[in-house]
Every structure is written in C-alpha cells, then in structure tokens.
C-alpha cells in the first residue's frame, strides 16, 4: 500500500508536468491545426537557458525563471513568424516535416552551445522530505506540483476572462467568424506558440530539477503525443486529465511491471495506450469529433 501511494504521488507529479507541456501542444493544435513535434526541444531550450542563468550567472531561481519565460515567449513568437507562417493551410505532411525540421535545428543549437553531458541544477528546493502519513514526498516534487497547478489555474483564468484568451477560444472555434469580428488571427497564432514555448520551458525546468538536464529531456516532446491523444487533441481539460492518467499509469508500470520484464516498459506504455485509444476512440476522451462529408 505504501509503495502504491508512493508510485501514485510520483505519477501525479510527473503527470502534472506532462499535462502542462501537453497543454501547449493542444493549444497550438487548437488554434492553427499544427502538430508541434518541436515541443520537446522548446522544453530543452528553456531548461538550458534557466540552468545557465542559475548555475553560471548566479541569478536567483525566481528571477532566472522569469527571464527564461520571457525568452521562451520570444522564441515562440519568432518560430511562429519565421518557420510556421508559410505552412498554414498546407498539407499535413508539410506541417509535420516543418516542425520536425525545427526540432532538429533547435536540438542542434542546444548541442552546439551546451554539449551532451548531463548537468544538474544547484539545489533550489530544500532537501528535507515532507511526510504525509507513510508517503514521503521530496520538496522538489511538491513544489513542482504546486507550480504546475498554479500555471493551470492561471491559464484557465486567462482563457476564461482575458480579452486575448477569449479571442483565442473564438479563433479555435471558427477562424473565419473570428476574423470577421476583428480578431487578429495572426496575433492569436503567435500567442499560442508563445504560450506553448512558455509552458514547455516551465515543465522542462521542473523536470530538470527532478532528474537533471540532458538532451534526452526532449523525449518528453514525444510523450506528450499519447497525453494529447488520450485527452483529445483539441481539448485543454483533456490534456490535463490525460497528462495525469498517463503519468500515473507510467509510474505504476515502472513500479510493478518493469521488474518483471526487465525494465524499459515504462517508456513504452504510453505508446501502447496511444495505439489502443486510436483503435477504439481516435478523438480521445474530450476531443471534438470530426464528421467528414463528401
């Protein structure tokens, strides 16, 4: 039971980070119908920028995080403007390959600047574990969870109350109608990419604090796919719930099944779930069903 709870807590924390990154992914799909295969590299760039600020320039963590977020926002804007704008309305494969190309460029730049070794954040959160009954939670996990939840609430409020957020929802609903109401769809796309870059770098910084930073972090970008598909590609609440579900299943598999098969199943299980969902319910738990008419 103790072990189960421990796994559950780990799953929820990792899952909440997945949820956050998947949120960015879904946001881009919702607004511009693009699958962003570079999400993992956004995460990587954000993590490394923050790491450099904290470790090399000794900037306090909070300030470094804020600078990273600003940087990510600019990166998102720039990428949307330079790389993605030409592909709006092009065939799916162009969009997929464009973001794959982008991910290759970003990964290359990260390799050139920061190299291949694993680096660790200097201790930011305290080391003494928190005890909840029998379950032990390290502060990094607790803080990560709190930060993710704060972000999710912030973003929900943004979409619900702010003018720009409402404009984004309108654009996702019907681009033409939004255009005719005077919403700048270009602006909406750019903001979607900026938010995607921001949330991924938050996710990256948190994961970097938990596991250390190296280029394999960008694999999260692929793991977000099962999350987004499970929740429904165009559903924000789906991304959050999907993230938690995938995180928990992954952690449980790691705890219970991996010792039986000799490890590694943890990494694959999200994709097995992905295939099952695609077979049974391709539009996910909350996704909008598209009905194709001739």
């Amino acid at each position: 039971m103790e072990f189960f709870l421990q796994m559950l807590v780990t799953g929820i924390v990792v899952g909440s980070v997945y949820a956050l990154v998947a949120l960015g992914f879904v946001l881009i799909y919702k607004s511009s119908d693009a699958i962003n295969f570079a999400q993992g590299e956004f995460l990587l760039v954000g993590t490394y920028v923050c790491l450099t600020l904290v470790a090399s320039y000794n900037i306090p963590f909070i300030a470094a995080l804020l600078i990273t977020l600003a940087f990510s926002a600019i990166l998102g804007f720039a990428v949307e403007k330079v790389v993605l704008r030409p592909f709006i309305g092009k065939p799916v494969i162009s969009m997929i390959m464009a973001t794959i190309g982008l991910s290759s460029i970003l990964a290359g730049i990260v390799h050139i600047i920061w190299g291949h070794e694993t680096r660790v954040y200097p201790p930011i959160f305290s080391e003494t574990p928190i005890r909840l009954g029998k379950v032990i939670i390290t502060p990094v996990y607790a803080w990560s969870f709190v930060i993710v939840i704060a972000w999710l609430i912030l973003l929900s409020a943004f979409f619900k109350y702010s003018r720009l957020g409402i404009a984004m929802r309108a654009t996702a609903d019907d681009q033409q109608a939004a255009l005719s109401m005077g919403i700048s769809v270009k602006m909406v796309f750019a903001v979607a990419w900026a938010i995607a870059a921001i949330v991924s770098s938050v996710g990256g910084v948190l994961l970097g604090n938990i596991n250390g930073v190296n280029s394999s972090l960008s694999m999260i970008g692929l793991k977000v796919l099962p999350v987004a598909i499970l929740g429904g590609l165009d559903s924000i609440q789906g991304a959050i719930i999907g993230g938690l579900i995938i995180g928990i299943i992954e952690s449980m598999t790691g705890g219970y099944l991996d010792p039986l098969v000799g490890g590694g199943l943890k990494e694959v299980v999200p994709f097995i779930i992905l295939v099952l969902i695609l077979m049974v319910k391709p539009y996910g738990l909350f996704g909008k069903k598209e009905i194709e008419r001739v």
């Binding site: 030409p86 799916v92 494969i93 190309g101 290359g108 730049i109 390799h111 692929l222 590694g264 295939v275």
Partner: protein, 353 residues
Amino acid sequence: MRNPFVMQCGEFHVNYRQDMAIWKIARVRWRIFFIVLCFAAFPMLATDYIVGLATLCGIAAIGAIGLNILTGFTGQISIGVGAFLGVGGYTSAILTTKLGLSFWLAAPFAGLVTAIVGALFGIPSLRLKGLYLAIATLAAQVIILFVISRWDSVTGGTAGLVLNRPTIGSFVFMSEKSYYYLTFVILLLTTIFSLNLFRTRVGRAFIAVRDRDIAAEVIGIDLFKYKVLAFFVSSFFVGVAGALLGHYTMIVSPELYSISVSIEYLAMILVGGLGSIFGSIYGAAFITLMPVVLREVVNLLSGTFPGLEGILVGMKEVVFGLIIILFLVYEPEGLDKIWRNIKDYFRLWPFSY
C-alpha cells in the same frame, strides 16, 4: 538530318498508349541505358570509400522508394520506417545466423515479414488519417523497437546480432565493389518495379486514394484493401533495404533503427520529391551524403576555425533541419522538380516561354 543541338520542346502525346509508355521518347531509352552503364562502370574508377558511400546511398534509395510508395503516392504518412528497417534487418539476421538460411532466401523473406508487420500497423489507416495516422506509426516505431531490444532470446537484446555477407557458391560479397553491384541490381529491380507499379490498376488506385480518398471510394476503389496493400508493398521494400543494410554493416542493434532514422527517410522523400520514384533516389543520395560533405567542409575549414570539429554533431542537426525547412518553403516538390526545371530551361533555351 536533325540539328543535334535542338532538343524537344516538350512531350506531346496523341494517344493513351504514348501517355502510358515508360519510355516517353525513343531517345530516352538510350539515355537511360547510358546512365545505367555509367553507374555499372563507376566502381572501376572510384576508391573503395566512394563505392561504399554509393552502396549506402543505394540501400537508402531502396528504402526511400518504399516509403515514397506509401507516403508520396498513397498519401499515408509513416514515421515508422526506422523500425521497419529494423524488422527487415533482424529477420534476415535471425534467418541467416540462427537458422542457417542463405541470404538469397532470407532477404526476400525479410521483406515479406516486414511487409506483413507493415500491413498490420497499416490496418488503423482505415479509420485514421493524416496526423492521427502519423502518430499511430510513431507508436509503432516505439513499440517495435521496444520488442526488438527486449526479446533477448531471439534478437540478442541491446547488444544486437552479427551478420555475414551473402555468398554465391564460394564467392563472398566481401569487397565494397561486389556489394555495390548487389545493391545496384536490387535498386534497379526496385526502380523498374515501382515505375511499372504506377502504370497498373493498383498503382493508379494508390494515387486516387492519395488525391481524395472519399472520391476514390465512390468510384469503386476498396479503400481498406488498397491502403493496407500500400503499407504491404512499401514495407516490403523497406524490409529488403533493412536486410541489405544489415548484411552490409554486418551488425544489427536497436539503436541503428531509432526514430531519427525514420525522420531521415521522411526527409529523403521530401527533399527528393514526394510522389517521384527518381526523386526518392536523388533524395536518398542527398541525405546520405550531406553529413559526409559537411564533415569534409569542416575538415577543410578547421585550419581557419579550430573549434569547428567539436560542434560537428550539432551542426549536422542544424543543417539537416534547415534543409528540410528550406525545401518545404522554396521547392516542396523537391530535387526531382528542380531537375525538371533545369531540363525545361534548356529545352526551350534561348526562348524561355
């Protein structure tokens, strides 16, 4: 006597026979024979290193043609080629080393096994389209690779398997040149098969499925059958390429078939030209040689910029990504289209228009 410097100003067909012909103009036949001869004679003049590179290009071209049949001609995006290559390589490896079959049986069998696996993962294509299918094939990639690296008793786990070069009687295809000819012949057969494929009912059905699947169904094309068939045919060639590659490098191991290989193959058909057989060959050569050329350039410049070797890996990725994006933006139809543009220019020169 015709003026030898005047070229045809275009292809003008007056009946369906001409339009379907594989040699559109009589002269093309001689030109093709000449080009084939050049490639057959080329190892006589080149060093082993160059011949080895050409072999790798040839193997990649077979796989790229396979992928192009699926993605370029039938419109089903697959991000799982890397794993399918692996299935081909491993099948051939297991058959030759553990069961003692000869390469000549194992390679076609590897193609067949890969084709069946491909068709299996193609079944969802009936319900899934575009993005969703791409994601499903990505999942196939991850799952197949996991099975390969965990099924220790058969695949040798993460250590992989060691293969032998194929033999005929007492002759072993050990030298670079002999393997080049082997690859060359298989590539030639692949090319001829796929060029002809798209002159048949099946090939035309593939193209109809790509252009508009619902319309294709309306005119009587069984979508499920042809989509799965496309996965089957495409994976067959990918499997054969995988077997060839395995016997060439003489080792198969899981990390040789990662997702980055899938992406490379997608880049090949994109750079070469989606829906073009010859384009697949150009693209395969382009993407295979790109890192080699880049390394040469870096070696050349390293005298002036000493730090350059250290960032070679990163630079490769950046250049790779840049090439994909630049092709997408400036020439989405790829090298094949560029080559046609050049030909058209000279055809009409000096009176363009």
